[in-house]
Amino acid sequence: MSDAPETTDVEDKRADQDALESRFQATPDIHDSWDASFIVTADVLRDALIALRDEFAYNVLIDITTIDYLSHAQHDGERFAVSYNLKSLSSGDRIRLKVWVSEEEAEIVSVHDVWKNANWLEREAWDQYGVSFIGHPNQKRLLNHIDFKGHPLRKDFPVRKRQELSVNDAMLDELEARLQGKGYAVLEQGSPAGVKA
C-alpha cells in the first residue's frame, strides 16, 4: 500500500473511477448521491476491491451492508444490493461499490481475507439480511441471539414477531481460538473448564 500513487490533483482523482469503468465494467450509480458510487458484477467484485485497495490507496473498509429493495417504488431488479464502502486515508476520498444479489441466490463472495474487519461486517450483514458470504470462515450471527430465527432487517420480517430465546451463548468457539493462538491447549471443546495453559 505504501507504493500506491498519491492522488493529489483533479485528473488523478478520476483515475480510480476510470479504472473501475474500463477494467471492471463498473457503471455509476446515478441514484446514489454519495461521493462516488459504482455498480459492479459479483464476479469482478473481489478484484475490483483489491485494485482499489492496492492501486488507489483505499485502505479503510468503512462498512459492508445490504440494502433490501423489496417494495421500493423506483426499483425493479434484484431484491438485494450488497454495498462496500471504502475510504482512503491519504486522499480522504470515499467510494462505494454495489453488487446486485438476487433473492433466490442471496449469496456473494466473502472478502474477509482482503480486509480483516470484513469478517464481522459480513457476519452482521448475513445476520440482519440473510445474504450469505461464500468462503466466510465463521458465518454465525453477530448481533442477534444465536437461536434467532429469520433475518430481522429484511423488509418482509414481521415487525411484531417475538421469539423465546433462552440459551446463554458463552462464545467459547471464538475464545478458544484466541487462547489457542496464545499457546493454550483446548482440552474439551465447548466446555468452560476445558482450557489449559
Binding site: L143, N144, H145, F148, P152, F157, V159, R160, K161, R162, Q163, L165, S166, V167, N168, D169
Partner: protein
C-alpha cells in the same frame, strides 16, 4: 443496649419506643430487628446496560448519595448483593445473562427496574428488545422515566425499604416451581 434515652433517628418507631435506660435490655420482634438490618444495609448490584446506568452513577455519587440510605456498597458479584438494579435496555441477547445473574443472587433479594426500558422495553418496540424485564425475572419496584432522575431512584430505594419492613423473616420470595 446503650443507656441513651433517645434512639438513633434511623431506628423504626416500633423499635425506638422500646429503647429505655431501665434495665439495659430491649424486647422486640425478630422480624422487626432483621428487617431493620436488611433495609438499611442493602447491597446493590447495578446491572447497567444503557443510558439509565449513567443516572445510577449520579445517584451513587456525592450530590445525591445513595449511602444516606445505607445502600452504598455496590457489589459486582451477584453472590454478594441482595438488590438488583436493572438500569437500561435489555435485549434478547442480554436476557439470559440477566436471568443468570438474578439466579445467582442469594435470598432474600429484591429487584428494581430503573427506567422505561427495563420496565417495559421503552420505545424499543422491536425484534431485539425484551418488553420489560418482568418477562424474565420478578420485579419489586418500577421506576418511570427515560432516564429517571436520581430522586426517583432514591424513591425506589425507600419503597424497597418499606417493602422489606413488611416482610416476615420466614417469607420466601421465590418458590421452586417443580
Amino acid at each position: 443496649m446503650s443507656d441513651e434515652t433517645t434512639a438513633p433517628a434511623s431506628i423504626p418507631e416500633e423499635l425506638s419506643q422500646q429503647f429505655t435506660n431501665e434495665g439495659g435490655f430491649l424486647a422486640t420482634k425478630l422480624d422487626t430487628v432483621i428487617n431493620w438490618g436488611r433495609s438499611n444495609s442493602l447491597w446493590p448490584f447495578p446491572f447497567g446496560t444503557a443510558c439509565c446506568a449513567i443516572e445510577f452513577m449520579g445517584t451513587v455519587s456525592s450530590v445525591f448519595d445513595l449511602s444516606r440510605f445505607g445502600a452504598e456498597l455496590v457489589r459486582f458479584s451477584p453472590r454478594q448483593a441482595d438488590l438488583l438494579l436493572v438500569a437500561g435496555t435489555i435485549t434478547y441477547k442480554q436476557a439470559p445473562i440477566l436471568k443468570q445473574i438474578y439466579d445467582q443472587m442469594c435470598e432474600p433479594k429484591w429487584v428494581v427496574a430503573i427506567g422505561a426500558c427495563a420496565s417495559s422495553g421503552g420505545f424499543y418496540d422491536c425484534y431485539c428488545t425484551v418488553p420489560g424485564i418482568d418477562h424474565i425475572i420478578p420485579v419489586d419496584v418500577y421506576v418511570a422515566g427515560c432516564p429517571p432522575r436520581p430522586e426517583a431512584i432514591l424513591e425506589s430505594l425507600v419503597q424497597i425499604q418499606n417493602k422489606i419492613g413488611d416482610e416476615k423473616v420466614s417469607t420466601t420470595h421465590v418458590e421452586a416451581s417443580s
